[in-house]
């Protein structure tokens, strides 16, 4: 591999990091504005900044997860090997957004009370599915290092990381159940997920790698 391509791949990799960090940086910026006395409305977080923040974090978790799930089918479709190293950072960003999403909900919506959180999980299916998503992504994030692949062995590691599919499914339903009435947006995400998972079913022999 020549230095030019190495330089390019490095730039691409950092590009992903910057692109995924940007929505979080913007949110933090808006919270800093509020801390400085700007009204939530003027800071761009609506009159209900806690709910808006939770929603935005959740949406970015979903988007990052969907992008991570898009890498393999895209690679197979296009033969672009340089996409491969994006999968891990995108997956980790999904988990990071999921963690902050959960944390803001727990602290600012549930008052950091575990009994209230538990009551919410037990009573509301969409909360249960959100928690399930996070719990399924947790072991994947914890075993995202090369050392973990070695320790677990490739086959077992891969089996474990198939948890990403039910995690995606749970996240999609979490979103569908979250909105009131019939809204198209969560169904678009669900449709995209089904497409991404369906593309994996296409027999491998038709793809040249």
């Amino acid at each position: 591999m020549g230095t030019m391509t190495r330089g390019r791949s490095l730039a691409l990799r950092w590009g992903v990091q910057v692109a995924m960090a940007l929505p979080l940086a913007i949110l933090v910026g808006r919270w800093l504005m509020m801390a400085g006395g700007v009204s939530p409305l003027d800071a761009g977080l609506t009159a209900e900044p806690v709910a808006e923040t939770i929603n935005r974090l959740g949406l970015w978790a979903l988007r990052a997860l969907w992008l991570a799930l898009a890498i393999t089918p895209l690679r197979r479709l296009t033969g672009w090997a340089w996409l491969a190293p994006w999968r891990r950072p995108l997956g980790l960003w999904a988990f990071a957004y999921g963690c902050i999403h959960l944390l803001v909900y727990f602290v600012l919506d549930q008052g950091a009370a575990f009994d209230l959180l538990w009551a919410d999980v037990v009573k509301h299916r969409f909360i249960l599915l959100g928690m399930a998503t996070w719990l399924m992504l947790l072991p994947l994030a914890l075993t995202s290092t090369r050392a973990s692949i070695r320790r677990l062995g490739g086959r077992r590691w891969q089996a474990l990381h198939r948890l990403v599919y039910p995690a995606g499914g749970a996240a999609a339903i979490h979103f569908i159940l979250r909105v009131k009435g019939f809204q198209i947006e969560p169904w678009i995400y669900a449709g995209l997920l089904l497409t991404l998972l369906g593309m994996r079913m296409v027999p491998r022999r038709r793809i040249k790698v």
């Binding site: 709910a51 808006e52 919410d120 159940l177 019939f182």
Partner: protein, 264 residues
């Protein structure tokens, strides 16, 4: 700026009102989009003049009332009411208007009138959200006769001493402060007195989630939202939700002997 309405304050909430800016920019009005700020962006194309309200059904004197006449028909009052959304957020809003009972008495309900059915304008060219199928259009709501005649039940023409901003349901909306916000139907074009419980929009969409009565009840949860607490717009931490949104002394008698878990 919107035209002023002169009114005497007849009811206080005993707590500070939510800012005018927040009341204007945080709305559920799916006729103008799903986002909370969509109505404030999109409701500009609603034409509230000329506007008429048809009052008919089981009444002795049915008729069509022009909105300008309606504004002068009854002495205007200002009432500061708590407003509790089924999504577990709340506001305190100074409304200007008149009791629904005044309007209903004027048209002389017949003895077999048991419910009141309300209808929002149906015009996708003014209400772009009606091009989607998020709900069945037009939006419809209803009250039992005794709820409609209750002195707290209010027809609002304005808020904060000015005519209603379009996104808040101009030119005429219902305000039932002890019920979840979706009962308080906006931009009303028709009020009909009927003998049977009329269909209501959210109940048609999800009958297991939204009941006909929809009284604020901290003891009965929605599948999505825990109703024992609420976030007051402008506050950082949630607060407890009160039965009937704090209006139990006024209205609990309406439901005596009723199972409020089944009749949610």
């Amino acid at each position: 700026a919107l035209a002023r309405l002169v009114a005497k304050r007849t009811r206080d909430a005993g707590e500070p009102a939510t800012s005018y800016e927040n009341v204007k920019h945080y709305n559920n009005f799916y006729e103008f989009g799903f986002g909370k700020e969509d109505p404030s962006r999109n409701a500009g194309r609603l034409r509230t003049h000329p506007w008429t309200v048809k009052v008919d059904g089981l009444v002795a004197k049915p008729g069509v009332v022009d909105i300008d006449r309606l504004t002068r028909l009854f002495p205007l009052e200002e009432r500061v009411y708590r407003h509790r959304c089924v999504e577990a957020w709340s506001m305190v809003i100074p409304w200007t208007g008149f009791p629904l009972a005044a309007l209903l008495k004027m048209v002389e309900p017949l003895s077999n009138a048991r419910y009141v059915a309300f209808e929002t304008l149906h015009d996708p060219s003014q209400m772009p959200g009606q091009r989607t199928r998020s709900l069945q259009w037009p939006y419809v709501e209803g009250l039992r006769m005794d709820e409609a005649m209750h002195p707290l039940t209010f027809m609002a023409l304005g808020l904060y001493g000015r005519v209603l901003p379009n996104q808040n349901g101009a030119p005429l909306r219902l305000v039932v402060p002890w019920k979840y916000g979706f009962k308080s139907i906006k931009s009303i074009v028709r009020i009909r007195l009927v003998d049977r419980q009329p269909p209501t929009s959210w109940n048609l969409t999800a009958p297991d989630e939204y009941g006909f009565f929809a009284n604020v009840n901290p003891a009965v949860d929605h599948p999505r939202w825990t109703q024992s607490r609420e976030r007051r717009i402008g506050d950082w931490l949630p607060r407890r939700t009160l039965p009937f949104n704090g209006y139990a002394d006024d209205v609990a008698g309406l439901y005596r002997g009723m199972n409020l878990v089944r009749n949610f």
